[in-house]
Symmetry: C2
Subunit: 234 residues, 2 copies
């Protein structure tokens, strides 16, 4: 049984791991949701040797794996959530790392000058960062993922079944829609392939059950994707 | 023969790939340094299907691999620049991804509110970002890499030979020393293991020859690590 360690009150980066586990029907314990964030901090601080820099991390039989793309690559190999051919594996990891870059830039929108400070302490800077993100970076990322969604003959990113990068694209689109409802309403029609993958992932049996359950934490103002209306515009 | 595509006038993210290739004695053509950045842009724009989001990317026999950690993982497997055991591979990839996170935060210091704008257009914001990075994030990252450097019985990160994560740590330390000479002079003594790895990588035959050659571009004010004296402090 996998142990997943991630903050209990936000989707955050842990959600990319949760979604792959849920879509794949893989059993896991979401430790901090059962034991609290203090238990997560204690677990993290007690570790020595090969330690995670930050949550999320996944533990199984003494093996501890951190960094979302690293965890997903591992799960992909162990549970066939990814193809096994070299070129396909590289492409999928490449996409996941580009999703991670996009997520980091999203976080930077509301925390441009101080990861350790509150949003309220950096609102003017966040407004500037958001303007540029909406105008330039967001369409560039979405265009790239649209190209990826249409580079395959099938409906998914690779072949004819979902992979961990499909579930990650779902989460990225869902988060961006929550954070930038106006901007995404304008942009979404330009990316039909990406929106198709979002819809198909939402309709996977495991994901549908997960989204309807209490295990899915709602988007809120403490995660990576935050809805501050002043940072959004059509 | 590998083709490496990256901007010709900066070390940037391409340098992590260049260093692994040079340390490993692996032949490659640094395409944009021979043909210019216009050729890189043309190559990137002409691609269809599975395209890179951004340089660097590596091409061999029709296979195109982007994202630094992805490229290094590939080179590690193909050229034995990484151990083959599962736990070791995961640990190395995890470290490389944490190095990538640190590099992204370094870039964010001088471009906190506009990736597409100049530093001069965001100096007050950069000053704020730098202060927090120097005080909080930098020691946290360096402490993590120090733990990694001392988690192994040998002198390197894993076993008794260098890996691509060792060459990447070298570049991270070199870049941080260029960008924050005062701050790093204060901090460096606290991280002897990390500094040891930096020195040992610099002394590898392939790296020594590379650093003395014209192939090594000097640090400058267009790359990721930039020395703006106003952003540094002891």
């Amino acid at each position: 049984m996998y142990k997943l360690w991630y903050w209990s009150a936000v989707q955050g980066r842990g959600e990319f791991v949760r979604l792959a586990l849920e879509a794949g029907g893989i059993d896991y314990v979401d430790c901090a949701r059962e034991q609290g964030d203090a238990a997560l901090l204690a677990d993290l601080n007690d570790r020595t040797g090969r330690t995670p820099f930050a949550p999320p991390y996944l533990e199984i039989d003494g093996l501890v794996i951190a960094q979302v793309a690293n965890i997903l690559q591992y799960l992909g190999e162990q549970h066939h959530l990814a193809p096994s051919g070299l070129a396909d594996r590289l492409w999928l990891n490449q996409l996941q790392l580009t999703i991670a870059d996009c997520v980091a830039e999203v976080h930077n929108v509301h925390h441009p000058v101080g990861t350790g400070a509150y949003y309220d302490e950096q609102r003017p800077e966040a407004a500037r960062a958001a303007e540029q993100f909406r105008a330039e970076r967001l369409p560039k990322f979405l265009g790239h993922f649209e190209d990826a969604a249409t580079a395959n003959d099938g409906e998914w990113l690779i072949d004819h079944r979902w992979t961990y990068a499909d579930t990650s694209l779902f989460q990225l689109v869902a988060g961006l829609r929550y954070m930038f409802p106006k901007r995404m309403a304008t942009l979404a029609p330009e990316y039909p392939g990406l929106m198709r993958i979002h819809a198909m992932v939402a309709d996977l049996a495991g994901v549908r059950a997960y989204l309807a359950s209490e295990r899915r934490i709602r988007f809120n103002q403490d995660g990576i994707f935050r809805h501050y209306p002043e940072l959004d515009a059509a």
